[in-house]
């Protein structure tokens, strides 16, 4: 068994959660964006996680194939397919012929809870790293 490999599992989760937080923040920032590079209003982005088995070098050296530890990574960032919200603003430069402006369909409350979830999951994994570090430290204590 390898306790150092566990740190990598936690790290992978922290990386994934941080990218989730980044995507959510960008959704919140683009709440009112009507112009994008691809044209049209900004589209809400969603993060999809996937678990995978990380090939662990120390384990391979020891001839052990531990298939239990599952790391996590961002599998894809996909666009929310909800149609944009149309608001009547005839004076707006991006208004269509009928005077409607398409705004991204983003609910700030939803994004906020998502962000909080990402932060909490990040903290959870940070405390798991702390726990693993303690165990490694204790194993070293045997030598003293």
């Amino acid at each position: 068994m390898n306790l150092f490999g566990v740190l990598e599992v936690s790290a992978s989760a922290m990386i994934a959660e941080r990218s989730r937080a980044e995507v959510v923040t960008s959704n919140m920032a683009n709440l009112e964006t009507t112009r994008t590079a691809s044209g049209g209003p900004y589209q809400r982005q969603l993060v999809v996680f996937r678990s995978y088995r990380m090939p662990q070098f120390p384990l391979m050296l020891a001839g052990l194939r531990s298939n239990s530890a599952q790391s996590v990574r961002v599998d894809q960032v996909m666009a929310d397919r909800t149609p944009p919200v149309r608001r009547y603003e005839p004076g707006h430069p991006d208004a269509d012929r009928e005077g409607y402006v398409s705004y991204p369909a983003i609910n700030p409350v939803e994004e906020m809870t998502d962000l909080l979830g990402a932060v909490r999951a990040y903290e959870l994994n940070a405390s798991a790293v702390q726990a693993s570090k303690n165990m490694i430290q204790q194993a070293i204590e045997i030598l003293r």
């Binding site: 989760a13 994934a16 530890a69 790391s71 045997i142």
Partner: protein
């Protein structure tokens, strides 16, 4: 090799605990992964099996899916409370194992030094 049967048992006890720790951390990492199922080791049975054998038998890890947990709509059933509690518990067990192992080594060292 200088070791006592107690040391061998303690070593395997630590193996089981650190394996369980790996599973708990892996569960925690996948708390937001759709479709992920909580995994754990059958702790009591594994410990009984591992400490029962007298000879040098290596611990072969095997994990099982935990049943009866509340499942979220994305088919993920990781429980934050369960994992947090187990993380603390496993750490304490590991600590106990380490302390007992240290005391075994201290006894050895006393035996060596008193013989001088």
């Amino acid at each position: 090799m200088i070791d006592t049967p107690m040391m061998r048992v303690l070593g395997r006890f630590l193996d089981v605990n650190s394996f369980r720790h790996t599973l708990i951390v892996s569960n925690m990492a996948n708390i937001d992964t759709p479709g992920y199922r909580t995994r754990d080791v059958n702790f009591a049975a594994e410990l009984r099996r591992v400490t029962g054998v007298a000879e040098y038998a290596a611990f072969t890890p095997s994990s099982v899916q935990v049943q009866g947990l509340l499942e979220r709509p994305d088919r993920n059933n990781v429980s934050l409370e369960r994992e947090g509690l187990l993380l603390a518990e496993t750490q304490l067990r590991y600590r106990i194992g380490i302390e007992l192992l240290r005391s075994e080594f201290r006894k050895l060292s006393v035996a060596i030094n008193e013989g001088k």
